[in-house]
Structures are given as structure tokens and as C-alpha cells.
């Protein structure tokens, strides 16, 4: 924590704000918030009605149909599975980058970003369910029979379970200090709530020290998980040799980069809203933060444009006829509108961001506009990844198909978006959306000053418990993985251990829970130093 800056902010803040509850309007109902809730509830209602339709009459109410017989089998749901999971890229990456490389200007954004990750992953999981023909069977059979050999295994376990849980752990651990702080400022029910959240955090130097360790290592472990997760999503398409337009090694990296673009873009939008419209945090979320995000977005965008050029070249230069046909249908056929939308959005954003980068100044509107554009591009690009190969990519002489998105599909997606918004605003109503230390409300001790005060025995116990959990997690993970891979049995039979996929997921969870164990394990301390100052 830079001393000078923090000091300044704190002083300003002290003049303006007397109560953190007032500032974040926690527990206080404002008209804007209520309207937002009503809005999202309406969206959710639309979604629930649509989903009920789909469950009652079957997927015939969607615009999805048999490929080769005039339709596409995967449509808007899959587009939004990818989109939602893509957005989740932002949060954990920003947090990890901040933690590992110490990008201080992004620190205020870590919590909104992590929350974005968690919520979008939940939405991703829900849209996966919406896509299934039999939701109940999916909930029953996936935990029982999920197979490692399927690229979807990555989506079901890595992304939705592992990634989501890792984010939750990371999110929770970094919120403990604030929870402890809030608990000390509140009374009654809220106090109990925050106390439970803080779970033993008491402002000791040890607490800060441990969190500093654990967050660093979590960040290091989460980053590869993130790449894996987004890659497996790409593999779902990339390893299908029978679908012209899908079979490409670029799918996996492309998915990772596009996830980065849409996630960063969404984060910029949220940062803008928090900064200007809701909490007036101009002094906390600095222009520099926007500039950093903008630069990141620029790099990712140009990378993706490069990918697209490579893609087009491969698909058109001496490619097999079917690949060419699909590429042609995308660029000049029925998919020209989404395709050129993607291209224009990406190019315009890149040019604007590049101008900002070169000019040395920061234009927040440029960042905002390009963020909106790249999110449009993210949806439309996913659309032209998923759909055209099913309507035009046939090796046999099937007639071309088409995809007419139905109100039910749009309804369900709207419902999911509404649910996401609701979760976000409810969270913002019960917990400070910005880490309090970055807002200068709570002071975090300097890392160099931290001193370990824990007695050796509890430290040993703590470490032992940590290692035990981690080891157990790893063992469960491996056993679960091998069993889910049907080792020792035929690939289509039940896994040798019942609920093997659950064991695998539990393994992943336990491995991450080890960090929680490490942090919250009760200890005995020599002194009781308090860093709380306000």
C-alpha cells in the first residue's frame, strides 16, 4: 500500500463519509436499487416462464432443430454458455494479476471483478442446464456418470465446479478483512452475519500475513486453471473433425483470448457504473485503472484480430471444399451480419484503444465504448462459431439449414441476465463492493511490517491441517479423475467408484479449501496487536 496515496484518500474520505454503511448504502433501500431489483425480477419472471414452457413442451419451443434437417442443435444457449463463462475470465485474472504483479491501480476493482466471475459462472452453469433436454437427468446423471473423455467434462467440472469454487475461495478470503471491519461497525443481526463471514479474522498481523501468502499461491494456481477451463470450452468445438469450421487448433486459444476480451470489457463497464453512476468513486477507481484495462483490452483485441485473420486464411486458402463453404457462408452468406459486426466492433475498439494508448491521455468514454463494442463482438463471434457449422458444415448432401432464435430462448437468457443483475445488486447491498482498504476506509498494514506472533505449536498444527486437506484434495482429485475415466472398466459402464465425478470435484474443492483451512485455523498468539485505525 503506497503510503502517500492512501493517506490522502483517507483524509478526503474522513471529511466526506462518516459511516461506511452510508457510503455503500448497505442495508438501506434506495429507490434506484428497488427499481433495479424490480427490473431484474421481471427479467427473471420472463426467464422462468420461458423455462417452464421449455420443460413442459420440450425443446420444440426453442428455435433449435436437428442439424441436417433444417436446423441447428446448439444455438443461443451454447453461445451464452460460452459468453457467460468467458466473462468470468476478468475477475479472477485481474485479482491474480494484481496480486502477483502488484498492479495497484486495479486493486479497487478486484472485488467487483471477482463477483463478476462468480456470478457469471453461476449463470454459465444455469445456461448449461437450460440447454439440456432433460434437466433433472442432467442433475442426476452428470454427478454419477460424467466421463473424462468428453470435452464437456471440462465444462462441467473444471469450469463450473473447480473454477467457480476457486473463485469463491479467493473471493471469500480476500473479503474476510472487510467483514471483520464491518462487524466491528455494526450491531445486531448484521454483526453476527459479518462475524460469521470474518470467521476468526481479528486484525492480527498474522491474519494479514497468512492472507498475503495464501492469496499469492491461490493466484498462481488459479491462472492455469483458468486457461485450462477456457481451453476445454474451446475443445468442445475444436476437436470435432466432422464439423467443418470447428476443427481447428485455434479454437482453444481463441476461446481464452475472447474470454479475456469480453471479461475485461464487462469489468470496464462495471467499473464505469460504480465510479460515476452509483458510488462516485472517482478518486478510488482512477483514470489509470481505466487506462490499464484499456491497454489490456487493446492487446487482447489485436491478438484476437490476428487469430481471425489466421482463421480466415486457413479456411479459404486451398482449404477443403466444405471448410471453404462454411467460411463463405459466414463472410458473405446468411451470417454476414454477425460476422462483419464482429470484425467492425473489434477493429473500431482496437483503433480507439490504440489511439488512447499512443496519445498518452486517458479517455474513459473510449474505454467504455470499446468495452460495449467488444461485448457485442463476443456474442456475435460466438454465434458464428456455434451456428454456421451446423447449418452449412455437412460432409453429406444435406440441405442448408437456418436458425431462427425463438422467444423462449431469448426469454431464458434474459432471465439469466436478470438473475445475474439481482445477485450483483443484492451483494452490493450487504457488503462493500470495493475493498475498504483501497477506498481508504480501512487501513491495511504494510507487508514489511507484518510480524508473525503465532505460537509454534498452533502454527505447526495449522500447517499440518493445511497439508492434510491439500493432500486429501489431491488424492480425491486423482482417484475421482481416474474413476471418471472408467479405468479398469469399459468406457461406457458406470465408473468403478460410485459418484466418481463428484469425488473429483470434491477433490478440487478440498484442494482450494486447504487455503481456507490455512487461514482460518484457530491459533494462539503472543500479543494482540491491532491494526484497526479509522
Amino acid at each position: 500500500m503506497a503510503v502517500g496515496e492512501g493517506e490522502k484518500i483517507r483524509k478526503d474520505r474522513e471529511n466526506k463519509v462518516s459511516d461506511v454503511f452510508d457510503f455503500f448504502s448497505i442495508g438501506k433501500l434506495k429507490i434506484g436499487w428497488i427499481l433495479a431489483v424490480i427490473f431484474s425480477l421481471i427479467l427473471i419472471l420472463i426467464g422462468v416462464i420461458s423455462f417452464a414452457q421449455q420443460e413442459k413442451y420440450g425443446d420444440i419451443v426453442t428455435g433449435l432443430r436437428t442439424p441436417g434437417y433444417g436446423g441447428v442443435s446448439w444455438g443461443l444457449y451454447v453461445v451464452f454458455i460460452i459468453y457467460f463463462i468467458g466473462i468470468s475470465f476478468a475477475g479472477i485474472t485481474i485479482s491474480a494479476l494484481t496480486r502477483i504483479f502488484g498492479m495497484k491501480e486495479l486493486r479497487p476493482l478486484t472485488r467487483p471483478a471477482e463477483l463478476l466471475t462468480i456470478i457469471s459462472l453461476i449463470l454459465g452453469a444455469m445456461s448449461v442446464l437450460a440447454d439440456q433436454g432433460r434437466v433433472l437427468y442432467a442433475l442426476l446423471n452428470l454427478p454419477r456418470y460424467a466421463r473424462v473423455m468428453s470435452p464437456m467434462f471440462g465444462t462441467f467440472t473444471m469450469v463450473i465446479a473447480g473454477y467457480l469454487f476457486a473463485s469463491l475461495v479467493y473471493f471469500y478470503l480476500s473479503a474476510r478483512a472487510d467483514a471483520w471491519f464491518m462487524a466491528s461497525r455494526s450491531r445486531g443481526f448484521l454483526r453476527i452475519f459479518y462475524k460469521i463471514l470474518a470467521l476468526g479474522f481479528s486484525g492480527k498481523t498474522d491474519d494479514y500475513l497468512r492472507h498475503s501468502y495464501s492469496s499469492f499461491w491461490l493466484a498462481i494456481f488459479i491462472l492455469p486453471l483458468l486457461v485450462t477451463a477456457h481451453s476445454t470450452l474451446g475443445f468442445i468445438f475444436g476437436i470435432q473433425a466432422g464439423r467443418p469450421g470447428w476443427f481447428s487448433a485455434l479454437q482453444a486459444p481463441g476461446f481464452v483470448i475472447m474470454a479475456g476480451i469480453s471479461g475485461t470489457g464487462m469489468l470496464v463497464i462495471i467499473a464505469y457504473l460504480l465510479r460515476r453512476k452509483i458510488y462516485k468513486l472517482e478518486d478510488v477507481i482512477t483514470e489509470k485503472a481505466f487506462r490499464t484495462l484499456g491497454t489490456m483490452l487493446m492487446i487482447l483485441t489485436i491478438t484476437y484480430i490476428y487469430f481471425m485473420i489466421v482463421e480466415e486464411l486457413t479456411a479459404n486458402y486451398a482449404a477443403p471444399r466444405k471448410e471453404r463453404e462454411v467460411a463463405h457462408a459466414i463472410a458473405f452468406g446468411p451470417y454476414a451480419i454477425p460476422f462483419w459486426t464482429t470484425v467492425v466492433c473489434l477493429l473500431v475498439s482496437f483503433v480507439m484503444l490504440f489511439y488512447q494508448f499512443v496519445s498518452g491521455k486517458t479517455f474513459i468514454w473510449i474505454n467504455l465504448l470499446s468495452s460495449l463494442l467488444v461485448n457485442v463482438a463476443a456474442v456475435s463471434k460466438r454465434f458464428i462459431i456455434v451456428v454456421p457449422s451446423q447449418t452449412h458444415g455437412f460432409y453429406l448432401a444435406y440441405p442448408e439449414g437456418s436458425y431462427h432464435i425463438s422467444p423462449v430462448e431469448i426469454g431464458i437468457i434474459l432471465g439469466l441476465v436478470g438473475f445475474g443483475i439481482l445477485l450483483y445488486i443484492i451483494f452490493a447491498k450487504i457488503f462493500p463492493i470495493i475493498p475498504l482498504d483501497t477506498a481508504g476506509i480501512r487501513e491495511e498494514p504494510e507487508e514489511e511490517n507484518l510480524e508473525r506472533t503465532e505460537y509454534g505449536t498452533t502454527l505447526l498444527l495449522r500447517r499440518f491441517a493445511f497439508v492434510l486437506t491439500l493432500l486429501l484434495g489431491f488424492i480425491l482429485m486423482i482417484v475421482g479423475f481416474l474413476a471418471s475415466a472408467r479405468v479398469g472398466t469399459k468406457p461406457y459402464l458406470d465408473p468403478p467408484i460410485p459418484f466418481a465425478p463428484v469425488i473429483f470435484i470434491l477433490g478440487i474443492m478440498l484442494s482450494f479449501i486447504s487455503a481456507v483451512v490455512y487461514e482460518v485455523f484457530p491459533g494462539k498468539y503472543r500479543t494482540q496487536p491491532s491494526s484497526e485505525k479509522f
Partner: protein
């Protein structure tokens, strides 16, 4: 008595020791074999570890089909026979029913000018893309080379459907709608489908099963001539273009036909190794298109 007790305890101890030994041996022998088996499974298609994919060898039956396009007149009798045999409901007549066709046996255009139709069932690939991707193992290739679908396990994600290069998998977009009287003719050997699952051609596996049972009861082997017209489509084909049989038996009709110089398989470059073999049409000549 005491001696007995002693012996018992001794036995118990021995048992325990034995178990211990067994456990240790198990750990030493089991874990590596576990791991090696896993890798064998993962690298199944390389055939490095001597473990061949199911249905490829060593099995008694490997069901296959030969469709002679030179004989096929495109009449569609196979399509109808299949639908009736397998309780497939009519599609419906509104715009809403577009693309909800379920045709295990279907006709698709072929030829350079797309001017004639060919029948196409599920090709029952030896290396099927659809079984690899199934997240729950609801579709798999069984020991006899049939690619089958377990409806009770299927969750309806339609991944196999999009992964099939031949579009031979069908999703039940809606609950089958039968006129009440049609329920009478439904085949009792085949279940009707729930909504929300993927389904496909089974090579009329219920008929194969019945035939096997009969052969077992009569204590004999299944004969080739019983198999040639076994599935509903082959049974009715007016030209006898569709032939069914056991590809594992080199003497069977299908194996003989498959050796024809006209034999080819659909999408050979995809490496799916279909077990439905087509015999090509002889070159035809059109004089001119204008009168």
C-alpha cells in the same frame, strides 16, 4: 476347546497377515496396473498396449450393412419400415415441426448432380465421434460394434448430435404425438421415446437379440441367411439393395459384398470407419438436359 480357540486366533492372525500382505501386494501391483490401464484406456486408439477397441477383434459378431446403390431405386420403403418397426411418431404438419424429423433410416441426395437418393441409416462407425464426446456415457459402441444409445442415461445435451458428421443422431424435440388409435400398432419390442433424449438407429438390435435367443434355444449357431434380411429396412427393400450381416465372419454375405471393387464408405477421410458399406452406382450417362 482352548486349542480350538488358539487355532482360531491363529487362523485369524494368519488371515489378517494374509490380508496385510495382500493389501501391500495390492498397492504394489495394483497401483501401477491401475495407472497403466488408465493410460491404455486413454491411448486406446493407438493400439500400443495390445488392447484393441471393442468390437474390432476377438468378438464373434461385428454387425455391418452393405447398401448397393446400383440396386436402390430410392422408393423409401426402408424409411417407412424403420419408422413402423421402431415406433417413430409422424413428424407433424406445422411450421413448428420443421426439423423435428426422426428418421433413423433416411434418404439423402447423392451423386455429382445430387440427382438420386441414397438410404442412410446410422453408419455404426468403428471409431465413432459421437461416443467419444458423450459426457455421461449414454452412447457407446458395444462389443458387437453397434453404436447404441441409453435413453435413461441421456441428458439431452445433443453433443453427440453435433459431433456426428453424418447427422445420424436425432433429438426428441417434443413428446411423440400419436393419434389414440395408432398406439395399437406400436411394436412391443421397442420402447417409445421420452422427450429430450438423443436417439438413433440400432440396426434393429431387438431383432438381433431375438434371433440370438432363438438360436440359443435351438442350440445352434446363427446362420448368415437369417441375418441378411434381418433389420426392418433390409427386410422390406424391394430391390434387395440392403444387406445385413456379420462382418467378423469372412464368409458372410456382407463380408463378401464388402470386398467388391465398388465398395466405399461415406466420409472415409474422417477416419470414422463406418460399418455401413456402400456399393457405388455405375457411371451413368445423360444425353443432354435440353430438349
Amino acid at each position: 476347546m482352548e486349542e480350538e480357540k488358539k487355532r482360531e486366533t491363529k487362523n485369524k492372525k494368519e488371515k489378517r497377515n494374509f490380508l496385510k500382505l495382500f493389501a501391500i501386494a495390492g498397492i504394489f501391483a495394483g497401483v501401477p496396473s491401475f495407472v497403466s490401464k488408465f493410460f491404455a484406456l486413454v491411448s486406446k486408439n493407438d493400439n500400443e498396449n495390445g488392447e484393441e477397441p471393442e468390437g474390432k477383434s476377438g468378438e464373434k459378431y461385428r454387425w455391418g450393412m452393405v447398401i448397393d446403390l446400383d440396386l436402390c431405386t430410392g422408393c423409401g420403403a426402408c424409411v417407412i419400415a424403420c419408422k413402423i418397426e421402431n415406433n417413430i411418431p409422424p413428424t407433424g404438419y406445422t411450421e413448428r415441426d420443421r426439423g423435428t424429423e426422426i428418421e433413423w433410416m433416411s434418404l439423402i441426395p447423392a451423386g455429382e448432380d445430387k440427382d438420386y437418393m441414397i438410404p442412410i441409416p446410422c453408419l455404426h462407425c468403428d471409431n465413432p465421434p459421437c461416443t467419444k464426446v458423450c459426457p455421461v456415457g449414454a452412447t457407446y459402441i458395444n462389443d458387437e460394434g453397434l453404436v447404441v444409445q441409453i435413453w435413461d442415461r441421456c441428458i439431452g445435451c445433443r453433443y453427440c448430435q453435433v459431433s456426428c458428421p453424418y447427422e445420424r443422431k436425432f433429438f426428441t424435440w417434443k413428446k411423440p404425438e400419436w393419434p389414440e388409435t395408432y398406439l395399437q400398432w406400436l411394436n412391443p419390442d421397442v420402447p417409445t421415446r421420452p422427450k429430450g433424449v438423443v436417439e438413433k438407429c440400432t440396426f434393429c438390435s431387438h431383432r438381433i437379440r431375438k434371433l440370438k435367443e432363438r438360436a440359443r434355444d435351438e442350440d445352434r449357431e446363427i446362420e448368415d441367411k437369417e441375418l441378411v434380411r434381418l433389420p426392418a429396412c433390409a427386410e422390406v427393400c424391394p430391390t434387395g439393395a440392403i444387406t445385413f450381416g456379420n462382418l467378423a465372419d469372412p464368409e458372410s454375405t456382407v463380408s463378401q459384398l464388402a470386398k467388391s471393387p465398388r465398395a466405399f464408405r461415406l466420409g472415409e477421410h474422417l477416419g470414422t470407419e463406418p460399418k455401413v458399406i456402400y456399393l457405388a452406382k455405375e457411371k451413368r450417362k445423360f444425353i443432354s438436359k435440353e430438349v
